[in-house]
C-alpha cells in the first residue's frame, strides 16, 4: 500500500511582516516552509510504511509562483520531509499557480494520486491558511472517503482504523481504503532527522512538474486587510507591590473585576 503525504509550501506566518499603519502585508519577503502538522502527517506515513514495507511519497503543490527563491524554498521544505524517511517527492509548481484555488489544486493533485496510492495523509489545516479544505476536496475528487482530525491510525488489511478527536468526544472509525485522512498535531511526535539523513534526502528522487491553473478560479481574493487591534499598551512600572496595586486599580476602572 503506497502512501502520499500532502505537503503545502506555506508562508512562515511567524516571519510574515505586516504594517498596522499602512496595511501592507509583505508576502514576497516572507519565507515559506512545510507546515508543522505536515511533519506529523509525514511521521505517520513513515511509521506506517516502515511497518508495512511500502513506499511513501511527498506530494507538494506550490501556490507561490515559481521564482528562484520559492523553488529553492520548496525544495528545502521537501528535503525536510524526505529526511524524515519518505522515499521521494513530487513537486508541482509553475508561474500563475497563485491563482489556483482549492478546487483547481484538488483536481491537479488527484491527477498525481489516482491509481498510484491507496492512502493520502494530510494536515488538518495548513500552516498559513488553516482551512483544511484541500484534503476534503481531494477525497471528493477521487471519490474516496475522508476522515479528519486523526489522532491514531492503524492499518487492518484493506481498511484503516482511525481514532479522531472532536470537540466533545473521541471517535474510532473503520475506513475502507483507498482513503484520505488528515491528522492533528497530537497524533505523534515527528522525528528529528539526522544530518546524514538530510544529506541523503537531497539525493532522493524529486520529480518536478509544471502547473498552471486551467480554469477561471471559483474564488477570488479581493483584498487582504490587516486586522486592527487597538491595545493601550501601557507598561506599569514600579516595585512589585506598586505594580500589583496599580494594575488592580486599572482593572477596576475598566470594570472587569
Amino acid at each position: 500500500m503506497d502512501i502520499a503525504v500532502l505537503v503545502k509550501q506555506s508562508l512562515d506566518v511567524q516571519e510574515l511582516r505586516v504594517d498596522q499603519d499602512t496595511g501592507k502585508i509583505y508576502i514576497e519577503d516572507a519565507p515559506t516552509k512545510a507546515g508543522d502538522i505536515e511533519l506529523n502527517a509525514t511521521e505517520e506515513a513513515v511509521r506506517l510504511k516502515e511497518k508495512l514495507g511500502d513506499k511513501a511519497i511527498a506530494v507538494m503543490l506550490s501556490t507561490w509562483g515559481a521564482s528562484g527563491k520559492r523553488q529553492k524554498e520548496a525544495r528545502e521544505a521537501l528535503t525536510r520531509v524526505l529526511a524524515m524517511g519518505l522515499d521521494g517527492a513530487v513537486l508541482i509548481m509553475g508561474e500563475g499557480a497563485e491563482k489556483g484555488d482549492t478546487y483547481v489544486i484538488a483536481r491537479a493533485l488527484a491527477e498525481e494520486i489516482r491509481g498510484k496510492f491507496e492512502l493520502v495523509l494530510a494536515a488538518e489545516g495548513s500552516e498559513d491558511n488553516f482551512s483544511g479544505l484541500l484534503p476534503a476536496r481531494l477525497a471528493a475528487e477521487l471519490g474516496w472517503p475522508y476522515v479528519a482530525y486523526a489522532t491514531a491510525i492503524e492499518v487492518e488489511g484493506d481498511h484503516v482504523k482511525v481514532t479522531r478527536s472532536l470537540e466533545d468526544f473521541e471517535e474510532v472509525v473503520r475506513v475502507k481504503l483507498p482513503a484520505v485522512i488528515s491528522v492533528t498535531q497530537e497524533i505523534n511526535k515527528p522525528r528529528v532527522p539526522k544530518l546524514v539523513e538530510i544529506v541523503k534526502a537531497k539525493k532522493k528522487p524529486l520529480d518536478q512538474k509544471d502547473f498552471s491553473p486551467p480554469d477561471e478560479p471559483k474564488l477570488a481574493i479581493k483584498t487582504l486587510k490587516v486586522p486592527k487591534v487597538e491595545r493601550k499598551q501601557i507598561v506599569i512600572e514600579g516595585d512589585v507591590e506598586e505594580v500589583a496595586e496599580k494594575l488592580v486599580q486599572a482593572l477596576r476602572e475598566e470594570g472587569v473585576l
Binding site: 544530518l195 546524514v196 538530510i198
Partner: protein, 429 residues
C-alpha cells in the same frame, strides 16, 4: 574513507567563504549552520570593509546585497541632552559597505552552494569528533558522528568547536560584550536628507558619552538603503550578572540612546522592523587561541578575529580573510594527503605574512578605547568646552583655555595624562 573532504561548521561569512573556495577546488564540502538559515542569527556586523572579500569576489558589491557605501563618518560625544558631532565627509582608501546580515549571509551561502557545497541549516553541531587525539569529523546533535579529512570551525564567538578541540580556553563572561541593535525603517529620501547622502552613499556614526553610565561602550547608527541600524555595544563584565537583567538593561540603554535629542532627529517617524540583543566577542581571548590542530582549523570570530573598539565591532573583513587563508592551507593539505597540524600550520603562515599585521594594528587602537575616561570625562569636556566657546550672554567670559583646564581638573585628569591619552591615540592610528 571520510564522509566529506571538508566539514565547515557555521555558515557566516567565514564559513561560507571557506566552503565556497574549497568546493570550487573540487573538494566535497558539507557546511552545517545552526540558525534557521544563514544569517538568521547574525544580527551584528552591519558594516563590511571590502578589502578581503574583493580577493574572493572582485567587485562583489555589484552583485551582493549590500546596502550603502560608507562615505560619511561621524564621531559624536553625548553629555546629558547635549551633544557634539564631528563629521568627516570623504571616501577613504578602501571601500566599506553597510549591509543587513540576514540577506548578505544568505547570498554568500548560496555562492558556496552553487559551487557545490552541501549547506544544511537548522542543525546543531555539538563539537569535534576526536579519535587518537586527532579531529576526524564532527559530532552533531543526537550524538551523530560525521567524518571529514578536515574540519573548519567557523562557529562564531562562542565556538564550542575550538573550545572542545582544546584550541582555546573556556571563556568567561568578561571576554564578551553585549550589543543591542534595532533596524528602523525610513523612506530612502528621508535617510538621504537627514544624513546628507546621495545615491548609494552611506553614513557610519559612532557615539560615546554618559549614556552608558561609565561602562565601556557606546552607540552607533548605520544607514541602510531604506532603514537605519541603531544600537549600543557594552562590556558584559561591567553589567549585572543575570542575563535577563542584561537584556533589560540593554533595552533601556538603547531606548535612552534613541531618545537623545541629537539621535532622535535621525530616527523620527521611523518604524521598528527588528530588535536583537547579541553577544560579541572581545579581543582579549585571541591571546589564548591556537588556530589549528590535527585535522582542524579555526576561522573568523571563533578564532577571535574580531576587534571591539568599544563603540563598534569590526570582524567580518578579518573573518573573510582568515577563511581565505584557511581554505588555501586546507586545499594544499588535502592535495598532499597530509592534514596533520604540521601541514595545516600553513594557515598561520599565510596569516602571519598578511592579515595578522593589520589585525595587530587594529587591536592597538583598542587599548586606547579601553580607557574608561573616553566614555565619561572626554565626552563631557568636549561638549562643555564647545558649549562654552559658543555661549554669548553679555557677561565677561573665561578664556577657552582656562575653561578647558578647569574641566580637566574637575574630572581629575591631569594635563599630563590628557597628553598621554592623545599620544596613545596618535600611535594607535
Amino acid at each position: 574513507m571520510a564522509d566529506f573532504d571538508v566539514i565547515v561548521v557555521g555558515a557566516g561569512p567565514a564559513g561560507s567563504v571557506a566552503s565556497y573556495l574549497l568546493a570550487k577546488e573540487g573538494h566535497t564540502v558539507l557546511t552545517v549552520e545552526r540558525g534557521k538559515r544563514p544569517g538568521a542569527k547574525n544580527m551584528f556586523g552591519g558594516r563590511l570593509y571590502s578589502w578581503s572579500l574583493e580577493k574572493v569576489f572582485p567587485e562583489f558589491w555589484k552583485e551582493a546585497p549590500v546596502e550603502r557605501e560608507v562615505t560619511k563618518e561621524v564621531l559624536g560625544f553625548l553629555h546629558g541632552d547635549r551633544g557634539l558631532e564631528i563629521r568627516l565627509s570623504a571616501r577613504p582608501r578602501g571601500r566599506s559597505f553597510t549591509l543587513l546580515r540576514a540577506k548578505f549571509d544568505q547570498w554568500l551561502a548560496e555562492k558556496a552552494e552553487d559551487a557545490g557545497a552541501e549547506v544544511i541549516s537548522g542543525f546543531k553541531v555539538e563539537g569535534p569528533l576526536i579519535r587518537d587525539g586527532r579531529v576526524v569529523g564532527i559530532v552533531a546533535e543526537g550524538d551523530e558522528e560525521m567524518e571529514a579529512e578536515v574540519v573548519i570551525a567557523a562557529d562564531g564567538a562562542l565556538s564550542f568547536m575550538a573550545e572542545k578541540a582544546g584550541l582555546r580556553p573556556r571563556l568567561s563572561k568578561e571576554d564578551f560584550a553585549v550589543g543591542a541593535k534595532e533596524v528602523i525603517e525610513l523612506p530612502k529620501e528621508t535617510i538621504e536628507d537627514r544624513f546628507g547622502l546621495s545615491g548609494d552613499e552611506g553614513a557610519a556614526q559612532l557615539y560615546v558619552g554618559d549614556l552608558t553610565e561609565g561602562v565601556v561602550g557606546g552607540g552607533f547608527i548605520y544607514t541602510n538603503k531604506e532603514s537605519v541600524s541603531v544600537g549600543v555595544v557594552m562590556r558584559i563584565g561591567s553589567l549585572a550578572s543575570k542575563v535577563s537583567k542584561i537584556s533589560t538593561a540593554m533595552w533601556e540603554i538603547t531606548e535612552k540612546f534613541k531618545s537623545h535629542p541629537l539621535i532622535r532627529r535621525y530616527l523620527e517617524g521611523g518604524k521598528l522592523a527588528e530588535y536583537s540583543a547579541h553577544i560579541i566577542p572581545e579581543t582579549q581571548f585571541m591571546r589564548g587561541v591556537r588556530l589549528y590542530t590535527d585535522g582542524m582549523v579555526v576561522v573568523g570570530d571563533a578564532a577571535g578575529f574580531c576587534v571591539n573598539y568599544g563603540v563598534t565591532v569590526r570582524g567580518m573583513d578579518f573573518a573573510i580573510e582568515s577563511a581565505r587563508a584557511a581554505a588555501e592551507a586546507v586545499h594544499q593539505a588535502l592535495e598532499s594527503g597530509d592534514t596533520s597540524a604540521k601541514s595545516l600550520s600553513r594557515y598561520q603562515e599565510i596569516l602571519s605574512s598578511g592579515m595578522l599585521r593589520e589585525f595587530e594594528a587594529a587591536r592597538k587602537a583598542v587599548d586606547l578605547m579601553e580607557d574608561e575616561r573616553l566614555y565619561t570625562s572626554i565626552p563631557k569636556i568636549a561638549v562643555e568646552s564647545l558649549e562654552h566657546l559658543f555661549s554669548v550672554d553679555g557677561r565677561p567670559r573665561e578664556s577657552l583655555y582656562s575653561f578647558v583646564r578647569k574641566e580637566f581638573s574637575e574630572e581629575g585628569i591631569s594635563l599630563l595624562s590628557a597628553l598621554l591619552l592623545g599620544w596613545k591615540a596618535l600611535r594607535s592610528m
